[in-house]
């Protein structure tokens, strides 16, 4: 029951949000390359880690007529807004030691601009931002239900990274990639949700520093002698805003990674020192993690994770469609059939084998009824029951067979019926064919007659299955011979 609940919520959420997830991950994969392209610019100066704020302030003051502000960014590029000695207003990257102008600030290219807007708000402004925030939350839930399904499938938490049984391409890689991209996707979606919450002011805002009015004129000392400028490394500075005028009420505003200071422009005295609110630091962290700013490796991981999400949607839906297509088609009614085939299949593989037998019996002109294990009931004219079943997770029943053992015990058949059991599984799992074995154990105690030895097939061995068909059909006197090709055909039809 729990498996199907998780699977349904995993699927239902994916269905609802798929369009938005596709848009967000597609654009996400594009904009993940923006921080990479930014970082490749030559504005990072060797040795910038060793530079003190004092040196850059002095260089700027010396080279320019006016300095308005000074900033460092996550790429460790240093930029400033200045007015040159020729009276030209400039804003761009500078050399932290010489003050030389290196180039204008990087402008977003139109592709990145477009992709970012689509990614953030679908061009729907606030509505779009809400949709994207909710989508991010849904994707978070989807990835959590997804990892729960993987744990379930692999048997236990510590087996998550052990070998996955290959059923088909989509199933295998959905699980395989799912294990690796779970953490990145968790981070992307969580930070995405946080950023939406910040956007809608659901976290307390940062209180502003009150600009103090200091009336007494303090002693003037040179900027180079300011203690704070001498003690602060340039890269610890987020920004330094220069005093607007020489009026004593105008100060330096120094923004460090975790503090904000007001500094008297004449004495270098710290007028106010305030810690930056935790929520603000958290926001910066969320932005950096969500966008990959400043790190080429993390940006690449984000890009790969985005592409993975697209693959999950594609493979997930194709697995679902396959499951949906597994609806069993019958020519005869249950009560009119001599043969009843019962199938317990999670992904449709076992069903392909069951269908192979069903089709041969139909060709032979026999009356056959094929149904899921959970539909077991009284079959009035039945002489043979054939059970084909796989095992799910830690020796449990597949979804369409989780009720079978109980039914088997409670349903009383009026006539004598032969039974045959074929289990499908893999010795790679600790509980090889456990469910089929459980069925055999239970069925023995009932008034059903064993027809041939139960068979447990490892890793979908066609040879073993063909051999079983030969044995069974000989004994049942309907002689048919199955080939690899027939099995393949039935797999393809699922």
């Amino acid at each position: 029951m729990t498996i199907s609940l998780w699977r349904y919520s995993h699927l239902l959420l994916a269905l609802i949000s798929s369009v938005f997830i596709i848009i967000a991950s597609f654009t996400g994969a594009i904009i993940a390359f923006e921080p990479i392209s930014e970082k490749l610019n030559p504005y990072k100066i060797k040795g910038v880690e060793q530079v003190y704020l004092k040196e850059t302030v002095a260089a700027l003051k010396q080279n320019y007529d006016e300095v308005i502000d000074l900033k460092t960014d996550y790429n460790e590029f240093v930029s400033a807004t200045v007015i040159t000695k020729d009276g030209i207003f400039l804003s761009g990257y500078i050399h932290p030691l010489t003050g030389a102008y290196l180039g204008p600030e990087i402008q977003k290219t139109s592709l990145f601009k477009f992709a970012t807007n689509l990614h953030r708000s679908l061009f729907l402004k606030k509505t779009g931002r809400i949709i994207i925030g909710v989508t991010s939350f849904l994707l978070l839930i989807i990835s959590i239900t997804g990892i729960l399904l993987i744990i379930r499938r692999q048997g236990s938490f510590k087996n998550v990274f052990s070998k996955i049984v290959y059923e088909n391409f989509f199933q295998y890689f959905h699980v395989f990639i799912g294990r690796f991209s779970f953490i990145p996707i968790l981070i992307i979606t969580l930070t995405g949700v946080f950023l939406s919450l910040f956007r809608f002011d659901l976290f307390p805002p940062d209180k502003e520093l009150v600009q103090l009015v200091e009336f007494e004129t303090s002693d003037k000392i040179k900027l180079e002698e300011f203690v704070i400028f001498n003690n602060t490394k340039l890269l610890d500075v987020t920004s330094l805003t220069f005093p607007f005028s020489e009026s004593v009420e105008d100060n330096f505003t120094l923004l460090l990674k975790d503090r904000k200071l007001l500094i008297n422009q004449f004495s270098g005295e710290i007028l106010e020192d305030k810690e930056i609110a935790l929520s603000q630091l958290f926001k910066t962290l969320s932005i950096n993690l969500h966008t990959g700013k400043g790190s080429i490796i993390w940006s690449l991981i984000l890009a790969i994770a985005s592409i993975n999400i697209l693959f999950f949607i594609y493979s997930g839906f194709s697995m679902t469609l396959k499951r949906k297509a597994n609806k069993l088609k019958n020519k005869y009614k249950a009560d009119n059939s001599k043969y009843v085939i019962l199938v317990g299949s999670e992904n449709g593989n076992t069903l392909a084998y069951a269908n192979t037998v069903y089709n041969f019996l139909i060709v032979k002109g026999e009356t056959v009824y094929i149904t899921e294990l959970n539909n077991y009931s009284v079959f009035r004219n039945c002489e043979h029951i054939i059970i084909f079943t796989s095992t799910y997770g830690k020796g449990e029943a597949p979804m369409n067979g989780n009720n079978f053992i109980k039914l088997l015990k409670s349903v009383k058949q009026s006539q004598e019926i032969n039974y045959s059991v074929v289990g499908f599984g893999s010795v790679n799992y600790p509980d090889f064919c456990k469910f089929a074995i459980d069925i055999t154990k239970t069925i023995k105690q009932l008034n059903l007659k064993p027809f041939i030895q139960p068979l447990y097939i490892n890793n979908k061995s066609n040879t073993v299955f063909i051999e079983w068909c030969r044995l069974w059909s000989d004994k049942a006197r309907v002689a048919f011979s199955v080939s690899e090709y027939d099995i393949l055909e039935n797999h393809r039809n699922i």
Binding site: D65, E66, I68, D69, T81, I83, G87, F89, S91, P104, Q107, K113, N117, S121, F123, K125, K126, R199, D201, P205, E208, Q211, T241, F244, S245, T253
Partner: protein, 162 residues
């Protein structure tokens, strides 16, 4: 020979004429914008030069770089939206409530004291738009003064820088 002389004469006369044509000389005016304390998103603050006919003449500064919202600054958009001149060099970030920001306005000296005006339009995403948060005559006196805002701006202070 005549041809050459003719060309030289024409070129010389063009040179002389061109010195009489209008040549702007710009001055930089530093402008500090202090926002009122309000909750919510940063405000778009757009500074424009208005000519004596009350028409937009030039965009001087744009605080806010998300073009998606430019449409909401109705009056300015009706001017800027048509031509979409490159404003990258005079674009900064939006200014949040309570914060200060300094920008530099490049003012054509020939237009000072000639009946031109400067207006500050402000808007916050999905909130109110002020078409004239601040408006004043472009006079040399005003360019050194402090003006009080009527919308998101608390006040601005201006200073000639050269």
């Amino acid at each position: 020979m005549y041809k050459k002389t003719a060309i030289i004469v024409i070129l010389l006369s063009l040179l002389v004429l061109s010195s009489f044509t209008y040549s702007p000389s710009y001055k930089n005016v530093k402008c500090l914008i202090q926002m009122r304390t309000y909750d919510g998103e940063g405000a778009y603050v757009i500074v424009s030069l208005i000519n004596p006919e009350n028409k937009y003449e030039k965009t001087l500064y744009v605080n806010g770089d998300d073009e998606e919202w430019y449409v909401d600054i109705y009056n300015w958009w009706s001017f800027y939206g048509k031509k979409r001149t490159n404003i990258d060099a005079i674009t900064g970030a939006t200014i949040t409530g309570g914060k200060q920001s300094v920008c530099v306005l490049e003012i054509d000296e020939n237009k000072i004291n000639k009946g031109y005006k400067i207006i500050f339009e402000t808007a916050v995403e999905d909130e109110k738009y002020y078409s004239k948060d601040i408006e004043f005559e472009l006079t040399s006196e005003n360019l050194k003064s402090k003006k009080v805002g009527s919308g998101y701006i608390s006040f601005i202070r201006m200073m000639d820088s050269n």
